[in-house]
């Protein structure tokens, strides 16, 4: 798959701080998760991709164009959704999105038409003529996403798109992000919520203190751990855990009513099945437990 972003030796320093330190990247044109703690260099990387800041060393290409050669040209191919509030509060969502469509180079009529389309797409069709100032956080996030894609960019940079959203709003936003890939729009999703990345991204980039620690497909990072997660409901979990321990298995209970059982082989897995059946418990879920991105991040970027 062709790279949508290609960086070599990318370095950016601010007074006394190295925000990015010789980063090499080859991001495929899919959904890429950019993961890192606060200060890891995510926003600096976005600034460099947008051509709003010049690297102290190294080069970066976006959509096959060198950012240093034509930053404005590169920006015409990128959509950007900042983390913070950034919308004109006294304008309607339709006006805001149409305006940013025009600023992205769309003719007036096309901008208004596409604003209507993308607001439909993000679920704001009925609210598009209301002032943004009266919107909830979720609606503002969706408006921000709409303005990012209105000019049909090849790449969209999303900075913490689920920040401040309730669980259902977060799920809707992740669904939208997931769908962007099917529209042919490459996505770089910056977040510190590893679950979001595991949920929608095909590729993961981890930054830690300006250093690249991981740049790999998501699936290659999530391995089987030799444990299974069993969900028999919170009331049955205690009895099941006790019975499995009595049969000599290593059991860990979680605070959400599931238990994790180490199963080195098929024999132990059969024991789990039989104990659940013997106790007459409802088996809601029995899955192999994979390593989480949290595990990967903790291993690759241990706390200092």
């Amino acid at each position: 798959m062709a790279s949508i972003v290609c960086a070599r030796g990318l370095t950016k320093r601010y007074a006394g701080v190295t925000a990015l330190d010789g980063v090499d990247l080859d991001l495929p044109a899919g959904r890429v998760g950019l993961v890192g703690a606060n200060g890891a260099g995510k926003t600096t990387l976005f600034r460099l991709l947008l051509g709003l800041s010049r690297p102290d060393a190294g080069t970066v290409e976006v959509c096959g164009m060198a950012v240093s050669d034509d930053p404005a040209g590169v920006r015409s191919r990128i959509g950007y959704m900042p983390e913070h509030d950034c919308l004109p509060l006294d304008q309607s969502a339709a006006d805001v999105v149409a305006t940013f469509g025009e600023l992205g180079g769309l003719p007036v009529r096309a901008a208004r038409q596409r604003a209507s389309e993308v607001l439909d797409l993000v679920g704001l069709d009925e609210a598009r003529f209301r002032p943004v100032g009266g919107f909830s956080t979720g609606m503002r996030q969706r408006t921000k996403l709409a303005q990012a894609i209105v000019a049909d960019p090849r790449l969209v940079l999303l900075d913490e798109p689920t920040a401040g959203l309730d669980p259902s709003g977060r799920e809707e936003m992740l669904t939208l992000v997931d769908r962007l890939g099917s529209f042919g729009i490459a996505v770089v999703l910056a977040t510190h919520l590893l679950d979001d990345v595991a949920r929608v991204c095909d590729h993961v980039v981890m930054l830690d203190a300006g250093r690249l620690v991981t740049d790999a497909p998501t699936t290659s990072l999530l391995h089987q751990t030799g444990a299974v997660t069993v969900d028999v409901g919170p009331t049955g979990a205690v009895a099941l855990a006790a019975a499995l321990v009595a049969r000599g298995l290593d059991v860990t209970t979680s605070d959400v009513g599931t238990i994790e059982v180490t199963v080195p082989g098929e024999t132990e897995l059969d024991i789990v099945r039989d104990v659940v059946a013997d106790l007459g418990l409802p088996l809601h879920k029995l899955t192999n437990r994979l390593t989480s991105l949290d595990d990967v991040f903790a291993r690759e970027a241990p706390p200092r």
Partner: protein, 299 residues
């Protein structure tokens, strides 16, 4: 009843890629100019935002209407030819123009900084210079229009009430270039000062007070120095400090080719050239301030 906090579910209506023409930086710059101009004159905004430009235009046209009315009433009388206001005086005669810039300049600039819209704008194919050009251009267009349109009313009205329209046109042909040039000089000066003051803060009231304060304080200080330095007689170079009258000195240079005898620079050697140089220096300084303010924006 629907929940007002939610706009509804996300439906799968698909996505249609855009395959039409896509403008680059010039199109983005013009779009920003158009958006700013629309905002300045209150289009697509609540009626309250339309009041200021409408009132300004009404105020600006009143002298023209009075002048034409006098011309009509006094035609074929000994008082014929009386001028309530001249074309030269009409450029910049109304302080409502400055008040308009103090209100509207911050309104199209400050919210971008205060509401943190700038990172979104600069994530488009635009530079700081494009932003400055678009914002100054929008205010320039408003002020120029509000200066020029009343002059058109005055000219056409006077021509119609005169004995011979063609004769009037011939006698006043010079104003056809003097008025737009002088109005443009005034509009550029006000637009640069207004946007520069607004670029310094995210608060509209502070920006408006800054602009009015700068112009009124420099005018008062210059007036005191001129009065004490010249002994109430001839002009004084300190009049160059007066930002309120500086564009009017340039206006006089356009209309008369020299400073007016009532000017507080009148009698100062090279006063006209100094006024023109100061005008250019103030405009250049204002542009430099703006370019510096929008040189770098946080993403």
């Amino acid at each position: 009843m629907s929940d007002p906090g939610r706009a509804g579910a996300v439906y799968d209506r698909g996505y249609r890629p855009y395959d039409g023409p896509l403008g680059g930086r010039p199109a983005a710059r013009f779009a920003l100019y158009r958006t700013s101009l629309r905002r300045a004159v209150g289009l697509r905004r609540p009626w309250r935002q339309k009041v200021a430009p409408a009132v300004l235009l009404a105020i600006a046209v009143i002298p023209a209407v009075i002048n034409v009315g006098i011309g009509y009433v006094t035609r074929d009388t000994p008082a014929e030819g009386f001028e309530f206001i001249t074309y030269r005086e009409y450029v910049g005669v109304s302080s409502a123009l400055l008040l308009f810039v103090a209100l509207v300049g911050p309104d199209i600039v400050c919210p971008d900084r205060r509401q943190r819209v700038l990172p979104l704008i600069f994530a488009r194919p635009l530079t700081g210079a494009d932003y400055v050009l678009a914002k100054v251009g929008a205010i320039f267009t408003c002020v120029f229009a509000f200066s020029f349109l009343p002059q058109v009313v005055l000219f056409v009205g006077q021509m119609l009430v005169s004995d011979g329209a063609l004769d009037y046109l011939g006698r006043h042909a010079a104003v056809l270039w003097q008025v737009p040039l002088a109005a443009a000089a005034l509009a550029l000066f006000y637009a640069v000062l207004g946007v520069a003051a607004a670029s310094l803060t995210g608060r509209r009231m502070v920006a408006a007070a800054t602009l009015l304060g700068i112009t009124l304080v420099t005018s008062s200080v210059a007036g005191i120095i001129v009065e004490t330095g010249s002994g109430g007689g001839a002009g004084h170079p300190a009049a160059l400090l007066d930002l309120l009258s500086l564009p009017l000195q340039v206006r006089d240079l356009v209309f008369l080719g020299r400073l007016h005898e009532d000017s507080s620079l009148s009698g100062v050697t090279g006063g006209g050239a100094m006024a023109a140089a100061c005008y250019l220096a103030v405009v250049a300084a204002g542009l430099a301030v703006m370019l510096h303010r929008y040189r770098s924006v946080e993403a």
